[in-house]
């Protein structure tokens, strides 16, 4: 625990330093400060994850906070680990990425300051065991991320996105406050342990259910569950790429953390809550990947795919909750460990993908798929990293993404023997839909990767793009390497996920309970390694075969059309078109087309974009409706003093009548 706080201290020191040094140094200072700080934080986490130890600390604060307990148990350590690692990558990458803003009179120093604020707030959140302090730190986290999002607030869309994000975060914190207060009023204490003692027993079932729903909604907004996900596709594109990588890779995971925490504190809620949670998770995964596969903006697509992955994690949690509800500790353990592992993996490859997108944006100044293309040859490192990341996020072996998904699938296969047809239906449908989501994500990411990096440039301007500096490629390549490593070392992932999962399920289950699929994972590791080897072998064979005959280079075979341009390539839109046609019923889409006319048509335009149903149907009308109602009242302050007095007198007379005769 001391080491942990030393790390935090280093972070804070870095914040101060980064303000003082001159602009061109700030990034460097941040990176150099974050590295040792992050490592210092990581060490106790790894220790606790491997040994299952917990390091408590507690101090007395004044009213109304009361006693504040900090606890670094494996559950907290897991998240702290994810955050610390994420912060290291983010700061190194950011030090390179922010170079493009130097000397433009932008608030770079504030940016780095809030970045480190965000790191610290996120690092502290998991260890805090007091509701009120938790809320405070939570809000600090939201605020600092808000300031990071509005870094380029002179742009209209960034500004709007930032405000939207702030409001969503505020709604979430209101929900959290309400949920916690409901609990605190009953338990009379803000300490999670006390809440646990009061509610774990299952007394106050309705209260704890209410609280769970409120809190799950609040955390769900942060995590990006349906239908409250719509801030992600707004805020992620708006923010600078390392920030969006951090937010999408790490910050939204704290929403998941909150939900798991609530399961730990309140015990498993009523069945119907578990079922609806699972259903929502499945829907999030589906809607997320559907929208993702139709976006033209790389970062929007990645944001939607975050919704999808959060959905997958949610499926794991849901299955685990069902397992707990049906008294099947194995399923619970598997579900939670699968969710945790997928969470860890997602923090790696989603960060990686956002960093890749950032690199592309930095060099080409566009995020629109229809202008990009052929970047692999110009940016091979970024391209490789992005390819590996895409493979990993599709959950394909031999990458880490597969491990998490596999365990989640497995936990569902385990549902047999637990009685209840409803459970079977839930399990099979989420099983199948998870598979479907996986397959669609293959579509989504082949599309993303190949339209950005494959083929030829669709726009003249981007042919000048070159590889980004090492400060940016290094983190990406390291993360990619970690993705592969996770794929070939699944047992290690399982190892570090077991203690946290055991704690969430109530700490009663010994970690060994998941021994059942140690050997599957072992075989998987073998096959993954084998796949890599075999690929190498075949490639070597190919090279050997071709060594004698030199390769003839020619143009792409245009099927008889011998004057191809890069414009006739398949674009992102056309790539996803067949699929969009299939899922037309559930996706609103608006098309603008100016068809070809005449014998020699000059210009024909066709463009379409997918509208996010939940945003257009739920979120926007809500906000606009409120604003409309409020503006309807704007006759009150009309500048005429007589009216002002009139209001007062009317109120006076009414209240007098009420007081006397009422």
């Amino acid at each position: 625990m001391n080491l942990f706080f030393i790390g935090i201290a280093i972070y804070l020191l870095t914040a101060v330093l980064s303000i003082m040094v001159k602009e061109s140094r700030k990034g460097l200072v941040t990176a150099c400060g974050t590295l040792p700080g992050g490592i210092a934080v990581l060490i106790p986490c790894i220790k606790s994850l491997l040994t299952g130890e917990a390091y408590p600390l507690s101090f007395m604060a004044n009213y109304p906070i009361g006693q504040v307990r900090l606890l670094l148990d494996p559950f907290a350590a897991f998240f702290v680990m994810v955050i610390a690692a994420g912060s290291i990558f983010c700061s190194i990458y950011g030090s390179g990425y922010m170079k493009q803003y130097h000397g433009k009179g932008k608030a770079v120093s504030a940016h780095f300051f809030f970045l480190i604020c965000l790191f610290v707030a996120m690092l502290l959140l998991p260890v805090i065991r007091n509701a009120i302090v938790f809320l405070i730190v939570w809000e600090i986290m939201s605020l600092s991320s808000f300031f990071l999002v509005i870094f380029e607030s002179e742009k209209k869309e960034v500004f709007d996105a930032g405000i939207f994000y702030l409001i969503m975060m505020h709604v979430s914190v209101i929900l959290l406050t309400a949920g916690f207060l409901v609990l605190i009023r009953i338990a009379g204490s803000a300490d999670f342990a006390d809440l646990q003692n009061v509610f774990q027993s299952g007394a106050y079932r309705t209260v704890s259910d209410t609280a769970f729903i409120l809190l799950a909604a609040g955390f769900g907004i942060k995590a990006g569950f349906l239908p409250l996900h719509s801030w992600l596709p707004e805020a992620h594109p708006a923010a600078p790429s390392h920030v969006s990588g951090l937010m999408s890779g790490v910050m939204i995971k704290l929403g998941i953390f909150g939900i798991m925490l609530m399961i730990m504190v309140l015990g498993v809620p009523s069945l119907w809550v578990c079922y609806s949670f699972t259903a929502l998770a499945v829907l999030s995964a589906l809607a997320g990947i559907f929208c993702a596969s139709a976006q033209d903006d790389i970062k929007r697509a990645l944001a939607y795919s975050s919704v999808e992955n959060i959905g997958i994690i949610g499926i794991g949690i849901g299955v685990a909750m069902l397992g707990m509800a049906y008294k099947s500790p194995v399923t619970a353990m598997m579900g939670f460990s699968g969710a945790l592992i997928h969470l860890l993996n997602h923090s790696l490859f989603k960060g990686l993908l956002f960093y890749g997108a950032g690199a592309v944006y930095m060099q080409t100044h566009t995020r629109n798929l229809n202008f990009l293309g052929g970047l692999f040859k110009q940016m091979p490192k970024t391209g490789t990293a992005f390819l590996l990341g895409s493979l990993a996020i599709c959950g394909l072996p031999p990458f880490n993404g597969f491990i998490g998904k596999f365990i989640i699938y497995y936990s569902m296969l385990n549902c047999k023997g637990i009685n209840g047809e409803s459970l079977l239906i839930a399990a099979i449908s989420s099983f199948a839909l998870l598979a479907f989501v996986g397959a669609v994500s293959v579509l989504c990411f082949t599309r993303l990767f190949s339209t950005v990096f494959m083929g030829a440039a669709r726009d003249k301007h981007i042919e000048s793009a070159v590889e980004v500096p090492v400060a940016m490629t290094l983190p990406m390549l390291v993360m990619a390497a970690l993705c592969v490593a996770g794929g070939v070392l699944p047992l290690f992932l399982l190892r570090i996920a077991e203690f946290p999962a055991a704690i969430i399920t109530g700490g009663k289950n010994v970690p060994g309970i998941t021994a059942e699929f140690h050997d599957p994972l072992f075989v998987i590791a073998m096959i993954s390694a084998g796949l890599i080897l075999l690929t190498a072998l075949l490639f070597a064979l190919r090279v050997k075969l071709l060594r004698r005959q030199p390769a003839a280079v020619s143009g792409t075979w245009g099927c008889g059309y011998d004057n191809p341009t890069s414009r006739i390539q398949y674009t992102g839109a056309s790539f996803s078109m067949p699929f969009i046609d299939v899922i037309k019923p559930v996706m609103q889409r608006e098309e603008t087309a100016a068809g070809v006319k005449g014998l020699f048509p000059l210009n024909a335009i066709f463009s379409f974009r997918i509208k996010d149903v939940f945003e257009t149907v739920i979120i926007r009308p809500l906000g606009q409706g409120t604003v409309f109602l409020l503006t309807r009242l704007s006759w009150i302050q009309d500048g005429n003093m007589q009216h002002y007095l009139f209001y007062g007198i009317v109120f006076l007379i009414l209240s007098l009548i009420w007081v006397i005769f009422g």
Partner: protein, 305 residues
């Protein structure tokens, strides 16, 4: 012993299958047709050839075919063949089977997009779309089987499915149909895809590899044939009754794979390719069947509880 036989099968059967299919079609068409092992000759010829590569391609284009073939071979190691025994078998291996095939597909699609040809883009987008639609059905089938048989791996499921109550026959029948549609889809055969048409616009799988040549093309051809063989052998080992000895099992298996090959050839000779817009419905039939299967399973389990 078993392993050696399986390896041999993995090496030779793909060629035989595609050979058979061609032979059947040509016979049906009244021609004599090439010998059964003609595809093998094609393969070895391709191995000797040099390659022609497009200007636009990047290193990914070179690696993709090898990676894709490697993935398919790894998948092959999971499929139970002779006597319902796979080279490698573990709980949940069918999940990995699907994802390995998906990996291969991913690489092929990416390399196809690398050429920058719009036709290949067309093919790859269709490929990923249709295989995405095939996925859930397969998982529902396997999941239901896993529950009713209480096992979690190809091998044990195909063993267990036989002594899982009265409905097992029906289950097997339905799942065979489902898997066969999957075979047509994944293998890129009629009516989903016409590998021998001359119009690139109507191709799916073939059009993706227009720019591959030499060993790469060979890898891809072999990989495709192997994929067909794998799904075919899934069906075959599903129908092989449990508990009969190794050799009879082997025979039944071989025979049935052959039967499937002939049947595919027969289909391709009598059917025309569907309209692209109709293919999703056809592919989705897998899921429809799978749902029926699931409900049967649920009834069975319901009885059990």
């Amino acid at each position: 012993m078993k392993i050696i036989i399986s390896v041999l099968m993995i090496i030779f059967f793909p060629f035989l299958i595609s050979g058979t299919i061609r032979r059947v079609k040509s016979v049906w068409g009244g021609r004599k047709g090439p010998s059964l092992i003609q595809p093998f000759f094609d393969f070895s010829r391709l191995m000797k050839k040099s390659e022609v590569i497009s200007r636009t391609v990047s290193p990914v284009f070179m690696v993709a075919p090898s990676a894709s073939l490697a993935a398919t071979i790894c998948a092959a190691a999971l499929v139970p063949m002779a006597g319902k025994s796979a080279i490698l078998s573990f709980n949940g291996d069918f999940i990995m089977f699907c994802y390995l095939l998906a990996f291969g597909k991913f690489m092929l699609v990416v390399s196809a997009m690398d050429t920058g040809s719009s036709f290949e883009g067309m093919g790859s987008s269709r490929e990923v779309t249709f295989s995405a639609l095939a996925e859930p059905g397969f998982f529902i089938i396997m999941g239901s089987f896993a529950w009713i048989s209480g096992c979690k791996s190809f091998e044990s499921i195909f063993q267990g499915i036989y002594n899982s109550g009265p409905a097992s026959g029906l289950l097997i029948l339905l799942s065979i149909i489902g898997l066969f549609i999957m075979l047509l889809t994944e293998g890129g055969r009629l009516p989903v895809d016409d590998p021998e048409t001359h119009l690139e616009l109507t191709m799916i799988h073939e059009v993706m590899v227009l720019d591959n040549s030499g060993p790469d093309l060979g890898f891809i051809m072999y990989g495709a044939a192997l994929k067909v063989f794998l799904i075919a052998s899934l069906i075959a080992s599903l129908v092989t009754p449990a508990g009969i000895g190794f050799v009879p099992g082997l025979i039944i298996f071989g025979v049935f794979v052959g039967v499937e090959a002939v049947f595919i050839g027969f289909l391709e000779s009598v059917m025309a390719r569907m309209r692209m817009t109709h293919i999703p419905q056809f592919v989705f039939m897998i899921t429809a069947l799978a749902i029926i299967i699931f409900f049967i399973v649920m009834m069975e389990l319901g009885k059990a509880l």
